[in-house]
């Protein structure tokens, strides 16, 4: 199953690995039957999508689970949400498309809220940056290509001279695949990104 969730507020400070452990415990509390790998130290069959850097919020993040029994997708979402705070709620659950999320996605959108009034200049980052929009004073929306080996959003901002002192919040709006002029979300559906380009979207 592929699930979509969010990670907000102070929970954005949970590292990728810690979140994986927290999620495993939530799944156990919710009695959702997850498969285990074989071998000497069996691992829950669960894999998170591309990591969010510590301190970055995510509105639409993804995780794949392998269940040992068939469950109603919405049921899984409800049960899991009972075991997690609203900032870490699951929003959607579908049977997994047959592609690996991490390899699939190549595009992402971030909002960056600066704490001080300064122009965001991203000179050093040509290749990765597709588009940048100034939404409001101090708020920028960045459209980035995710290429293997490319530095993450935080490094990118840092390399253009910012530090956490200057950043109030970074939020990832989502991750997609940009292919043949189309945009696909991690469930494999075509999406229109115009709403993200419109200021009020």
């Amino acid at each position: 199953m592929r699930l979509e969730y969010r990670k907000l507020g102070s929970f954005r400070f949970i590292s990728h690995l810690d979140w994986l452990n927290a999620l495993k415990r939530a799944l156990r509390r919710a009695s959702i039957p997850i498969g285990y790998s074989g071998g000497f130290s069996p691992q829950m069959k669960i894999s998170l999508g591309p990591p969010l850097p510590v301190g970055v919020e995510g509105l639409r993040e993804y995780v794949d689970l392998e269940l040992t029994e068939v469950r109603v997708p919405l049921d899984v979402v409800h049960k899991l949400n009972e075991e997690l705070p609203p900032e870490l709620w699951f929003l959607r659950c579908e049977s997994s498309p047959d592609f690996d999320i991490v390899k699939f996605v190549n595009f992402s959108i971030y909002d960056v809220f600066l704490s001080s009034e300064c122009e965001l200049k991203l000179d050093g980052v040509k290749g990765a940056l597709y588009k940048i929009i100034k939404l409001y004073p101090k708020v920028y929306r960045l459209f980035l290509f995710l290429t293997p080996g490319a530095s993450g959003i935080v490094k990118l901002l840092f390399s253009s001279g910012l530090s956490w002192q200057d950043i109030f919040l970074i939020r990832r709006l989502g991750i997609w695949r940009f292919e043949d002029g189309k945009i696909l979300n991690p469930f494999g559906e075509v999406e229109d990104l115009d709403k993200y380009i419109d200021k009020r979207g």
Partner: protein, 594 residues
């Protein structure tokens, strides 16, 4: 609220809101307690006693218990630079606004972190400077048995088992407040009333402070749930305390003296608690904890029933025991735990290298036990073993050091013979003489001697693919200073803290120069505290803190040590009349005997 989180290392230790956190109107309870742990979140959250109190106190409507930990140095600086107070995790209340600040005294070298908690929390660090608006600062935990060292920083100390006593104290406080009494007046009153409470400003060292003892764990409180942190903590698992106290009588061990007698939990309770904790937290690992869990009389039954119980529930669970005894029974237990075939590292603590020295310290295992155990575990396919030894034990001579080397070599050879992949790691710590033990009259060896002995061991084991680690000798030296300290040391702690000493128990944080200058500026000779032998007739600074164990018994044990005579264990041999059971009307409670 905490907009500084992106600016510090490991921010997830400050976010709180762990799963299962009680839904309370924190700010509206009649009595508000903050349980403060003078170390990082990851360490404090791993300490069982702290969490038992948390859940116990939060079970009452009129009472609430929140948490605070010493922030790491970067976070402290940030809070200071912004003029912000240290706040509780639950309701973000500055520590100064609580009724009580309960500080866990677990480790000597947390002392400076206590001052950070107080100062950053907006509380004057010395009790004499506090008034009715400040919380009552109370210390508890093992460190309360050497409370004289920290006395100026505390309003009172609770000696012994904290659960029932603390609750009783808080109830009395509630009633006192209801009757319109003042906070500071309550202290003196309570100090007169509760035998286990020491109020330094009221009593000086004139009161014989008695220990609070819970006679039976089954009747005492144990939480049904536990917090599930959002970040990895040191003991990242749920724990069931299978017994409290230990009567093995190792002569260097303070816990083995001050927590007597042994009080075991019944098998049914252990299983019931384990079930509650695992189901409510989703943890994948459960630990049966105590000072020496292999000694639990129902240990094998416990492991077997836990396994079948969780199998029945369809839940995978790994079990763990904190440390193993050196005998084949323990290997059977280890086998029982590792039902999934995983053979992790086995850890043992022979503590000394020769039979003679083990008799001196009363560690009742023989070379024969050791070799049999190693042979057995190697045969059964375990290949990683870790051994703990102490260096600088009383009466230790060159032959003991070379004996240690040949013991380790022997173990290594034997292990290799039965298992080609056998590997050994050895950890060496300096002996620290502790108050309330038979070795409280002994001194610690000078640091260069300890270093020399450790170096000798390490070089003698070189090239054998045996890993040798040793604890920082300077750190052990400071531990020894405070382990037998008196009231004069508080000013040294304060001075070192003012000079920037923080998290001194963390090897990379310890700055010896800071401490040495703090000692010299206070005109205190640390070597006197750490290294001198004390005579039996000298009055000891902690004599008025009564663990229940008679001084005469400690003297007797010390004399037997010097004669190389081992003593038995009153659980299965006769009572040694240490004094606790007679004085406190308690006895060893053994689960298999009821």
């Amino acid at each position: 609220m905490r907009d500084w989180l992106s600016l510090v290392s490991r921010p997830s230790r400050y976010i709180g809101r762990e799963w299962n956190i009680p839904a309370k109107e924190w700010k509206r309870s009649e009595v508000r307690v903050c349980l403060a742990y003078p170390d990082t979140y990851e360490i404090g959250m791993s300490y069982l006693g702290y969490k038992i109190l948390y859940w116990l106190l939060n079970g009452f409507e009129w009472l609430s218990a929140e948490r605070a930990f010493t922030p790491w140095i970067d976070a402290e600086m940030l809070l200071r630079s912004r003029g912000e107070f240290l706040r509780s995790l639950e309701s973000s209340t500055p520590l100064k606004d609580f009724d009580f600040l309960g500080v866990t005294l677990q480790y000597e070298m947390n002392a400076t972190n206590i001052l950070t908690l107080l100062d950053l929390g907006g509380i004057p660090i010395r009790a004499e400077d506090r008034d009715d608006d400040h919380p009552i600062v109370i210390g508890g935990g093992p460190g309360a048995f050497t409370a004289q060292v920290y006395a100026p920083f505390f309003d009172c100390f609770l000696l012994g088992d904290g659960e029932e006593a603390f609750l009783e104290l808080l109830r009395a406080y509630r009633d006192w407040r209801r009757a319109g009494g003042k906070r500071r007046d309550f202290l003196a009153e309570a100090g007169d009333h509760f035998p286990w409470l020491w109020v330094p400003l009221a009593h000086g060292r004139s009161k014989l402070v008695r220990r609070s003892i819970i006679p039976s764990l089954d009747e005492g409180f144990y939480p049904k749930v536990d917090l599930v942190p959002w970040t990895e903590i040191v003991h990242d698992r749920v724990s069931v305390e299978v017994f409290r106290g230990c009567t093995r009588g190792c002569r260097f061990c303070q816990a083995g003296m001050v927590y007597r007698p042994v009080r075991e939990r019944s098998l049914d309770k252990v299983v019931e608690i384990a079930k509650n904790l695992v189901l409510s937290t989703g943890y994948e690992e459960l630990s049966l904890t105590s000072l020496a869990s292999c000694d639990y009389s129902m240990i094998k039954e416990a492991l077997i029933s836990l396994r079948s119980e969780f199998q029945r529930l369809g839940l995978r669970l790994s079990l763990s025991l904190p440390s193993l005894r050196m005998d084949t029974f323990s290997i059977d237990l280890a086998e029982e735990i590792m039902s999934d075939g995983r053979k992790t590292t086995l850890t043992f603590a022979p503590e000394a290298g020769t039979q003679r020295l083990r008799d001196v310290i009363n560690k009742n295992i023989t070379d024969d036990d050791i070799f049999k155990t190693v042979e057995e575990l190697a045969k059964r396919g375990w290949n990683r073993v870790k051994l703990y030894f102490m260096v600088g034990l009383p009466t230790e001579g060159d032959e003991d050091i070379s004996g240690l080397v040949s013991l380790v070599k022997g173990i290594h050879r034997l292990g290799k013979r039965f298992n080609r992949r056998f590997s050994l790691s050895v950890s060496l710590a300096s002996f620290v003489p502790k108050a309330h033990t038979p070795f409280q009259w002994e001194g610690q060896l000078p640091q260069d001697v300890l270093r020399e002995r450790m170096r000798f061991i390490k070089s003698s084991l070189k090239g054998k693919d045996i890993e040798v680690h040793y604890h920082d000798v300077d750190l052990s030296f400071l531990e020894a200073v405070f382990a037998r300290g008196d009231h004069n040391l508080a000013s040294v702690i304060e001075r070192a803290w003012r000079k920037g000493a923080r998290f001194d128990g963390w090897d990379e944080q310890l700055n010896m120069r800071t401490w040495i200058s703090a000692f010299s500026e206070e005109g205190i000779d640390p070597y006197y505290y750490a290294q001198r032998k004390i005579s039996y007739d000298e009055k000891l600074p902690w004599d008025f803190l009564d663990s229940g164990v008679d001084k005469d018994f400690l003297i007797l044990e010390h004399r037997s040590a010097l004669l190389g005579r081992a003593s038995g264990d009153c659980r299965w041999d006769s009572c040694l009349r240490c004094g606790v059971c007679q004085k406190y009307s308690v006895r060893n409670e053994i689960a298999s005997r009821v």
